[in-house]
Symmetry: C2
């Protein structure tokens, strides 16, 4: 039986609060991209904690990605490499992408520091897809603008990273430069997020019980 881990709304709030100073200091994001639906809640909370007095809010762009786990391939544990995400095993579908009209045809992303936000890094497939496709779009925009040397820097924030074999990979420079932050690293557990709870009081009670057991 897969172990369940219950996370309350206030836990999510505090994980964002705890991460915010490091995000501000190390990533200095000028824009957030929330991967929906799971990234919506942490992105909105994080926006409050990233706001500096006197400055406007950091804008959030939402994208929608759905991960369909298909029939296992003959090598179910083999890692995907960039460009191969749609091989048997996993398929990412865009339900929403960036709105190019409000973004000024991507040029507002060129040379920016962008924080990608999601709730969980499970197989890493969705994050790989998001980073790769965003980098591709930004590079195309940069070339179109004829701008040299304006590097767009992506960083990632997730509430939970599952410590397991990943199918997706993230760019080497992102990992080397430590532009990846998970508020918590957990085992390969079933994380129960509050927005999926049918009975939120029972959900909170399960979380409290779990925390009491852990500290006993």
């Amino acid at each position: 039986m897969v172990q369940k881990e219950y996370v309350t709304y206030n836990d999510v709030h505090k994980l964002c609060q705890e991460a915010a100073p490091r995000i501000l200091e190390e990533f200095q994001p000028q824009l957030m991209i929330a991967i929906g639906g799971g990234g919506y809640v942490p992105a909105r909370i994080l926006r409050s904690f990233l706001k500096k007095s006197g400055s406007p809010n950091i804008s959030i762009q939402a994208i929608g990605l759905s991960l369909y786990e298909q029939l296992p391939s003959t090598h179910p544990s083999r890692s995907n490499t960039p460009g191969e995400v749609e091989q048997p095993g996993t398929k990412v579908t865009r339900t929403q992408w960036l709105d190019l009209t409000s973004l000024g045809e991507m040029k507002n992303l060129v040379g920016k520091r962008i924080l990608i936000v999601d709730e969980v890094d499970d197989t890493r497939t969705t994050l790989e897809y998001a980073v790769r496709e965003l980098e591709k779009d930004v590079e195309a925009a940069r070339q179109k603008l004829g701008v040299e040397g304006e590097k767009t820097v992506f960083s990632i924030f997730v509430l939970h990273n599952k410590n397991k074999e990943k199918k997706g990979t993230l760019p080497d420079d992102m990992m080397a430069e430590d532009r990846y932050l998970a508020a918590r690293t957990v085992g390969d557990v079933w994380i129960c997020y509050p927005w999926e709870a049918v009975d939120i009081d029972e959900h909170d009670a399960m979380a409290a019980k779990q925390n009491a057991a852990a500290s006993a």
Copy 2:
């Protein structure tokens, strides 16, 4: 002094849960459009409660609208009429609009039942803008497609409607057909949403105190 009303995450969760059966029965939405940042959290929660077993999730498209209250005009209390939103007093700016590529150039909206989600209906300016602009885009897509009789039906869900003089107006048919649902109608109070709280435990304590006082 403006009265403050503290709303906890679990309150928000329960307001969505309570509204879901009526939304399913009366609005039967096929798509949600979340007005960010405030609509992100209720839209994500609502998605869980709108899911029917065996059916896929209702997709969420996020749009970003910012309301800037400018210097008061000489007639600060006059209502805006459609087309006049940018007159002195209020100005809505798009920070994100629909992604036309994933939406198949709007044609996936034509003839659909669409639920617009936001956290609060305050002056109604943002909602007026959202409905008017979405209707305009859908009508343009419908004409382009040459489709007749496929009416797109918008409905609205907000957590709180402030019972006050509104600057914005919503379409007559929407109001006549009761396609507007506020989980709660409140006075012209300052609603403290949890995602804006610096200290979430204190926020919850204030909410509990307020509820105790109300039921005393």
